[in-house]
């Protein structure tokens, strides 16, 4: 792991960056760590247990400050970074993006383009547990699915942790805060919760990179990531959308092909 610590130390010592965003050991699991002093770099860790998507901090100027910032990025984080960059949310010159390979080598990316090429070698895989659940749901009848979600979402108390954890939810004003008109019931209620999740999913269409942070963050453990994961699969099949490889023409919902399917239109 020391390669990463070396790198971080040198970056801080040479004053290339003002802070390194990475992971440190937490009480139960690794947690995000904003390392600002060279002497603290020893705390930095990186392993398969590091799952928070650190890209979420990169859209928060108040956290980044004015200086250059380094971030230790996992694969999902890299995908998010590429997507954010495509959506004009990141300043290339203000970021040092690092990742650690299986052989524990540290890679520093020259730019976003380089990340994209790097990502091409890693096919996004949905882990079996999730896939099974998706298949289970698809196996169900419409009514069963509906009951499943209504029950799951009846636990939701609108803490918006899912939103806070998602790197793609960077709007200054989220749709749920729009009140003329009040698109989404603001209070926690089955309808409001459903409306919120549908909005969330629609807003993540072609943008979700499947990091799973949303579900991870949910205090009551609602498998909301299934929505976006399922959508990711569909969009992949329908329009060839690949997470972490944005289509330069625009978002899946802001573009079209004349030959898009319309078998459902009368």
């Amino acid at each position: 792991m020391n390669k990463l610590i070396e790198k971080a130390t040198s970056l801080l010592q040479e004053g290339v960056v003002t802070k390194v965003i990475g992971y440190e050991e937490g009480t139960e699991k690794p947690r995000p760590f904003f390392c600002e002093k060279a002497e603290d770099t020893s705390k930095l860790i990186y392993n398969s247990r590091c799952i928070n998507n650190l890209a979420v901090y990169l859209t928060k100027p108040e956290l980044l400050g004015t200086g250059k910032v380094a971030v230790v990025a996992t694969l999902p984080t890299l995908r998010s970074i590429v997507q954010l960059a495509f959506e004009n949310q990141l300043k290339e010159d203000k970021l040092v993006i690092l990742t650690v390979t299986d052989s524990e080598e540290v890679i520093e990316f020259a730019g976003f383009a380089e990340i994209e090429t790097y990502l091409k070698d890693f096919k996004l895989k949905i882990d079996q547990k999730e896939q099974d659940l998706i298949d289970k749901l698809e196996g169900m009848s419409k009514e069963e699915r509906w009951t499943f979600w209504v029950e799951e979402l009846s636990q939701c108390f609108k803490c918006y942790a899912c939103r806070a954890a998602c790197p793609m939810c960077y709007c200054t004003r989220c749709v749920v805060e729009v009140n003329c008109p009040q698109w989404v019931q603001p209070w926690a209620s089955p309808l409001g919760n459903i409306e919120w999740q549908i909005n969330r999913a629609m807003h993540l269409a072609g943008r979700c990179t499947g990091c799973g942070s949303c579900a991870e963050a949910c205090p009551v453990g609602i498998p909301i990531d299934l929505l976006t994961r399922k959508m990711m699969e569909d969009l992949g099949e329908e329009f060839g959308v690949v997470p972490g490889q944005p289509n330069k023409n625009g978002n899946v919902l802001s573009t079209f092909k004349p030959e898009d399917k319309e078998n459902f239109i009368r």
């Binding site: 169900m140 019931q185 549908i198 269409a205 899946v252 319309e262």
Partner: protein, 152 residues
């Protein structure tokens, strides 16, 4: 077309101003008849139609929805309908995964010349929705708390 005896579904249609709205006008001028429990809302283009409006309509007690605009390549704004079509492909998939009854949303292309098609579409939709009955599942969830005034 007036069998008031049985259940009368509430149906709204979101249509574009240039093709379907005009088509519906033609239905009128041709004096073709359809059920009264069916109302049209005018939009500049199908591209303008927000998927949230559909959900809101269900929450507000709609049993069925028609979304209709210009045929491909006829869009007054050249590609609004193409964008809409994309949106509906994605939205339908999601709704279905949610267990929301996509049969209750009928998408169609109706041109300004297709007054007849519009009448048929409305009548068949009304019939189908009548078959399906009121959209209780959704309304139950919507009415979970006594209805609040959502606008304002």
């Amino acid at each position: 077309m007036d069998n008031i005896t049985e259940f009368e579904p509430k149906i709204v249609a979101f249509v574009c101003n240039w093709c379907t709205y005009a088509g519906a006008d033609l239905t009128g001028t041709s004096r073709l008849k359809y059920a009264t429990n069916f109302k049209i809302i005018r939009f500049p283009c199908t591209g303008r139609i927000d998927y949230m409006l559909l959900l809101k309509a269900f929450a507000e007690g709609a049993d069925g929805i028609i979304v209709s605009g210009c045929h491909p390549n006829d869009c007054h704004y050249t590609s609004g309908n193409f964008h809409a079509r994309r949106r509906w492909v994605v939205f339908r998939g999601l709704l279905d995964f949610f267990g929301i009854d996509v049969r209750r949303i009928c998408f169609s292309w109706v041109s300004a010349a297709e007054g007849g098609k519009w009448a048929d579409l409305v009548n068949s939709t009304v019939a189908e929705i009548r078959e399906l009955g009121a959209y209780k599942e959704y309304q139950k969830v919507a009415g979970y708390l006594e209805k609040e005034e959502c606008n304002e």
